[in-house]
Symmetry: C2
């Protein structure tokens, strides 16, 4: 009898309900750029990151708790805010010991869905904190659901690549009977040595780089372990474990 | 200005609504085994295939029109029926000039969703009729949505592999800005010369072969152009064009 825990990969928030989350660690994956920015802020000493789904709510919460409200709409810092979604904005000098109230669309929605589906626990993952995520999943010995945030429910390759990176690193500790996990690992294996060179093929790259010139963001978001912290969701906040 | 039509790939019925079907040819893909069986029956001279979603409905319709009702539940010929979902059952001697009333779950549901979303036209695709599908799509010069039936809304690799096969053959005639299409093509390119050897890695393989011994079905369903006909959905029936 094989008693290893399982890994499943949900390729879109619209598919998350197909998986049993109640006995699983759910990894929220939003590579461009929410979960990379969360890793960056926590790695640089933020006390917590509060993910919210709207700009007014970010402003309200940040006023109440003295936090920094941040967020973008269509690639530009949102009206009423001073800070955006770039992981490079959150240096230690700026964010150290502060609370970041971050508005994201795809990532926050997925996180809320994981909560509604009674996830056993929720962490966030991105290439900048790949090792911390993998070490945690191996140590916990629980079932895992890798939840790709996608783009407005559409599949995207960058989140899938990250899922594949996790699977390749930790698969020997798990049982995997899941076509999306096998696909993710295959895609990652093909591109892992040229992630940044491959990026121009991603639909999301065009939104970020061609329209907004965010090539340095892209590079950070595709670099492993440059913000190697484990963000754990507890009581409405992501905190470094 | 690039005026080529587009290709998008919907990896699950739960994602089909994300795509604009009203200006698109929708290709229903259910490789194991519904769309392969549809190709087989029509290639062997069936007058039409009527896809239905339940066994009682298959029995009722077949009685009314003098058709052959067929279908399985959990891999066994369904109670009240004499014929199953295997493409190998539908020889010319048996199905020639007859009407097949086929119950399928994933494929019929996806087809109904395409109808509900006002698809411009609907065809069905599988490896046995790959060339007929590709020739039609190139000739029509319309937008294309490759609709993978999946398994109970989950992603599966075999339908994705077929989408990738179509894309690789016809992409020069289309504009493709779609991560799932790029992924599908990549996966197909990796496995195209060993589809049958790769099959044991698919979750669906275990259901079909390990439980029901349907290895010959699998081989047929993964072989290109052995039933090279174009099934077009018109007035509730799939007919060979």
């Amino acid at each position: 009898m094989n008693n290893k825990p399982t890994i499943h990969t949900s390729l879109s928030p619209a598919l998350l309900h197909l998986y049993d989350l109640s006995n699983s660690i759910v990894v929220i994956i939003d590579v461009f750029r929410a979960t990379s920015t969360i890793a960056s802020a926590l790695h640089n000493g933020a006390r917590s990151v509060i993910p919210v789904d709207s700009v007014p709510r970010a402003i309200e919460i940040s006023k109440n708790i003295g936090g920094i409200a941040a967020g973008e709409r269509d690639g530009i810092i949102a009206e009423g805010l001073q800070h955006g979604n770039s992981p490079l904005e959150y240096s230690r000098a700026f964010i150290g010991n502060k609370i970041l109230v971050l508005t994201t669309t795809n990532g926050t929605r997925l996180l809320q869905m994981a909560l509604n589906n009674n996830a056993d626990s929720i962490i966030s993952g991105s290439f900048p904190n790949l090792s911390a995520v993998c070490d945690h999943l191996v140590a916990e010995k629980k079932n895992v659901v890798l939840g790709c945030a996608g783009w407005k429910d559409r599949f995207n390759l960058e989140d899938t690549l990250f899922a594949g990176a996790v699977i390749q690193r930790i698969k020997k500790h798990f049982t995997i009977h899941c076509d999306s996990s096998l696909m993710a690992e295959t895609i990652y294996a093909k591109h892992k040595n040229e992630l940044i060179e491959f990026a121009p093929n991603l639909t999301h790259y065009h939104r970020l780089v061609e329209r907004f010139g965010l090539i340095e963001d892209i590079k950070f978001c595709l670099t492993e372990d440059v913000a190697n912290v484990l963000p754990v969701y507890i009581d409405g906040k992501l905190v470094a474990k």
